[in-house]
């Protein structure tokens, strides 16, 4: 398992093992699909539903399919909530958290704000996720990938790790100080495994914040 990020002369670096890389790629693919595809009705996962410059989505989804036999990747593939069979609400719940209201008591002002800012926010999150994907280079013989980030890439990682945690945390219904509830779940349960991914993302993000401070 990764030791997380540390600050070196060459940049902010971390090494991820094969399984971690697979999880990251899968999650990033789901996040990109969610951010790009929510406005249109369910479409095949391999096609981006909105035109974006240089979109790598087909390749990433293909890779997700490649891991079809890997149970972990199978779990990851269900996280986006954009399955054809599923109604929109799960996606909306996550998108609502990623793109929240700016006004508590004023629906009109909130709608106006959203009209002006939502696309830009989405685009920014897409760009960050693509930067993270792009920074995952070639694996070594053991399937490990070492990333070395400059400040800009590190910021993209920070923001994307947040978006991933928000997406998973919202889907899981994570609450403050609910460790006991999760500890009591059966280790084999789907939810607990996904929660493990959520904790792992938090560990990686914590290490990145400390490497940047």
């Amino acid at each position: 398992m990764t030791r997380g990020f540390s600050s070196r002369r060459s940049g902010i670096t971390a090494t991820f093992d094969k399984a971690e890389v697979a999880v990251l790629r899968g999650l990033l693919g789901e996040l990109l699909e969610l951010l790009r595809g929510d406005e249109q009705k369910p479409s095949p996962p391999s096609e981006p539903t909105e035109p974006t410059a240089g979109s790598p989505a087909p390749r990433d989804s293909e890779e997700a399919q490649d891991f079809a036999d890997d149970p972990f990747a199978a779990i990851v593939r269900h996280l986006g909530g954009t399955d054809d069979d599923k109604p929109e609400p799960p996606s909306d719940e996550v998108l609502k958290r990623l793109l929240p209201n700016a006004y508590v008591d004023d629906e009109d002002a909130a709608a106006e704000f959203r009209r002006f800012t939502e696309q830009g926010l989405r685009d920014g999150k897409v760009t960050n996720a693509e930067t993270v994907l792009g920074s995952l280079g070639e694996p070594n013989r053991k399937g490990e990938v070492t990333v070395t980030l400059d400040r800009g890439e590190a910021e993209a990682w920070l923001r994307t790790l947040t978006d991933l945690r928000l997406a998973i945390g919202t889907r899981l219904g994570v609450d403050q100080d609910d460790d006991v509830r999760w500890a009591m779940l059966d280790d084999d349960s789907y939810a607990k495994q996904v929660y493990g991914v959520y904790l792992w993302l938090g560990y990686v993000q914590e290490s990145l914040v400390h490497a940047l401070f």
């Binding site: 508590v104 008591d105 947040t162 928000l166």
Partner: protein, 112 residues
């Protein structure tokens, strides 16, 4: 006055709608959420607002313990920029008039 003039009478006191009410400062509020790391929230306050580590940590603790905290104040446009920035960092923020609910005048007939 017996004579009725058809010309409009000029009042010394200006029409109520022309009175300029000085802009009530707006504030940006960051709300607690169970997902974001405390270290990350502190990082955001330091990086975006250029607050000292001490101030950033204090604000983060206020968010954490009190459920929310005012992190900046200014014009409405400035606060919308701050809120948008907070959202881009994954924090949940909203803006409102400071002292909201006190004067009862929204000036635009707005309000839910």
């Amino acid at each position: 006055m017996d004579v009725v003039s058809t010309a409009p009478v000029e009042l010394e006191r200006p029409d109520a709608e022309e009175v300029v009410v000085p802009d009530t400062p707006w504030v940006t509020i960051v709300w607690n959420d169970p997902i974001n790391l405390m270290s990350y929230v502190t990082y955001v306050f330091q990086t975006y607002f250029h607050y000292s580590r001490q101030k950033a940590e204090k604000l983060m603790m206020d968010v954490h313990h009190k459920g929310k905290a005012v992190v900046s104040s200014g014009t409405r446009e400035e606060m919308e920029r701050d809120v948008e920035a907070m959202h881009s960092y994954g924090l949940w923020a909203t803006l409102e008039k400071s002292g909201k609910g006190g004067d009862g005048r929204t000036g635009r007939g707005g309000g839910a």
